[in-house]
Symmetry: C2
Subunit: 423 residues, 2 copies
């Protein structure tokens, strides 16, 4: 029965019931974690044969290059070709990073501040104010990079088809607005796939700032856990066609294809941007880990084979996401005070609970031994005015633990909502 239509007596009875359930959970001294988009050990087991796929030194040679030695700053040609295949861009538009695409994103923003981008009039650190658009809910680590360098973070509301483009198109008329963070496929945390129309409007933006930059984090480009691969437009060629060839930097990695934090990462952009950054990257490195590049190309082969490997991940992730959906549907749907998404890929479920109760609900979770992403984390500066959005990351725990954690979570959502209604 919906909380919204309950009488005070009914609410009090419900509160007593849920408090009793909460106390019973607490007595179990649980220690469960749904805080981060980490794959579970069961998932990692499925791809751990990558460790043994490249042991023969004779296989170190590719395109006349000895991958064991220095060189090839932008990456091995076979690794650049791999990413071009996955992302649908050209190999010449790619630059291989180390094991983290987050570091590549940081480096783009860091160099924008210290030296400026290709079309910057001056380094961003010489600007009076730098503003950066943060579609929210979004990824806290994105927002923190721009915050770290002193940018002013501006919240842009998310819609079912991506960021609200009317708002974006209005905000970029301000020349102090220098860029926007995007997770275009299975957005973190909403799991939204940007619509063709949204992508088209992105490519056709006419920002006032000549160095306006779209940070296109395609983290979940092949990460379906429910159903077939969903084809996705190549933003780089779309920007080029729209006369904005240097406006976008795309990022991806194998962190959720092979090993998190021990895979290979890529940045893709116009050849002019890649040339500009390759020169600057040459100051800080001689070349990235080409042995790991080669290991990954041997293991993943190409996009088609990568999609086969993603089916393995789906076999573990799918049941976890279905468990989350089922428990929410059973526990929360009847109460009518929250809504959530049911994505078919990515790593998160985004839930909006009764306004003003997210922080309280997560404090209760912690009290009962269930760690979640902190309330507000999905908004700039870690603060959501409505105190409503919660990011659920179901990938790490085994299903049995996940079900337990979700039960506790639902009880906490209810208690926090009831407390507010009874106030």
């Amino acid at each position: 029965m919906s909380y919204i239509t309950m009488t005070k007596d009914e609410l009090q009875r419900e509160y007593a019931l849920q408090t009793e359930r909460f106390d019973a959970c607490k007595a179990q001294n649980l220690k469960l974690n749904m805080a981060r988009g980490k794959p579970g050990a069961d998932q990692l087991d499925l791809i751990s044969d990558i460790l043994g796929c490249f042991v023969d030194p004779k296989e170190c040679f590719t395109d006349g290059i000895d991958a064991r030695n220095y060189g090839e700053l932008a990456g091995l040609p076979v690794a650049r070709a791999y990413w071009a295949d996955v992302l649908g861009c050209k190999a010449s538009q790619t630059f291989l990073g180390g094991s983290s695409s987050l570091t590549l994103m940081h480096d783009v923003i860091a160099k924008a501040f210290s030296h400026g981008l290709l079309h910057s009039e001056r380094p961003w650190c010489k600007e009076d104010v730098v503003k950066f658009l943060c579609p929210s809910p979004g990824y806290d680590r994105h927002f923190r990079i721009t915050e770290f360098f002193g940018a002013e973070l501006i919240t842009v509301p998310m819609t079912a088809t991506g960021p609200n483009m009317d708002v974006v198109e209005e905000l970029i008329k301000d020349p102090q607005v220098k860029g926007i963070w995007c997770v275009p496929k299975y957005s973190n945390p909403d799991g939204i796939i940007y619509s063709d129309e949204t992508i088209r409007r992105f490519a056709n933006l006419k920002p006032a700032a000549p160095d306006f930059t779209i940070m296109w984090d395609n983290a979940y480009c092949v990460h379906e856990f429910d159903g077939e691969f969903v084809p996705f437009a190549d933003i780089i060629s779309l920007c080029e066609e729209a006369g904005n060839p240097d406006m976008v930097f795309e990022f991806a990695s194998t962190s959720k294809i092979t090993f998190p934090g021990a895979g290979i990462s890529v940045m893709a952009s116009s050849e002019a941007n890649i040339a500009y950054f390759t020169k600057m990257f040459g100051v800080q490195m001689i070349s990235h880990d080409k042995i790991n590049q080669l290991r990954h190309v041997k293991y993943l082969k190409d996009k088609a084979h990568t999609l086969e490997i993603m089916k393995k991940h789906a076999s573990v992730l799918g049941p976890k996401f279905r468990a989350v959906a089922e428990i929410l549907d059973k526990e929360i749907t009847p109460c009518g005070f929250a809504n959530w998404n049911t994505p078919k890929g990515g790593y998160f479920v985004s839930l909006n609970t009764m306004e003003g109760t997210a922080t309280r609900a997560l404090a209760l979770c912690e009290e009962a031994g269930v760690v979640m992403t902190p309330a507000g984390a999905t908004f700039p500066y870690g603060k959501e005015p409505a105190d409503s959005n919660i990011r659920i990351a179901p990938s790490l725990p085994p299903v049995a633990e996940l079900e337990k954690a979700m039960e506790v979570f639902c009880i906490c959502l209810k208690i926090a909502a009831l407390e507010k209604l009874l106030k």
Copy 2:
């Protein structure tokens, strides 16, 4: 016979002779490279069994950590312990980087400029002028990092015991002088081991700048190719004892122990500095490649076993350096216009030819198909006023090619000197 005492006729006959040799070399259409400190394929073959040393997923677990997943920003405890053993510091004073220590060095300087160091009054980008000391000849990639961020590079002369410390102690009275680059063991390119007295004076510096920083690149800490391992003082504890606990950052990597650019790197400093940087590094990464950390610990084990592996490298490098010394001794010693070092470790031979002739000699080398590090590269801004120092990097070519390249090189040195004497 010494060029210095030759008559004009003798010089002309010698010039004709060397020019004839040069033309004969040119006719061979050589393509030889002594430009960079890259190990040769023969050397890499000796350690390529590292590829197969870690293939069993069951071995991914260490100290209760699954190395396949995110986490442990500062590095696996076993990897931190490994570096503490090699460098003689504490594990708590280490932070593991990716595959490049150069990137760690860049990041320290980058963050000094963007945010400031632990004892900075303000970020270096807010200072009117930042000056950085560059003992020369030195490593071009060091100098370029500070140049990239706009620091003024100040040359400090090298002596047989390290940088001229009288000059250093005088220069650091200027609060605009923020740091110094050092390669303390087998310095690049001189191959000098800093004396105990030099190291003591470094640890006891009393700089005017509160955030003065010693960039201690211990790149060749275990890299003897002639004779036994030379023990080396731990600069971190020496600085601590001298009341300068946060003044030094030490760097090292396995780039010349296992695979160049595909190994593991480390930064070592006071616990306060490591804590300060770990927080900032947390903005740009979740964790570095722990699989590669574990692979390296399995393969290298500890300092003692690493030294055994370095003996293998020495078996290849030793003959190459001996060939260089022999050819220089035979070709150049009698001519009396140049001097050079004969190091027992590291990757370079540093030669000082007749002043004003290094650029010309290397242009001749290029004409004859022998690529060397450009003249001036070992000095700030790539310019040496005396035009005398040349860095020889004998590690890459097989001995037969190396001998050929050295012959060409000696002929070119002679022609350039003769041209000057005959002017």
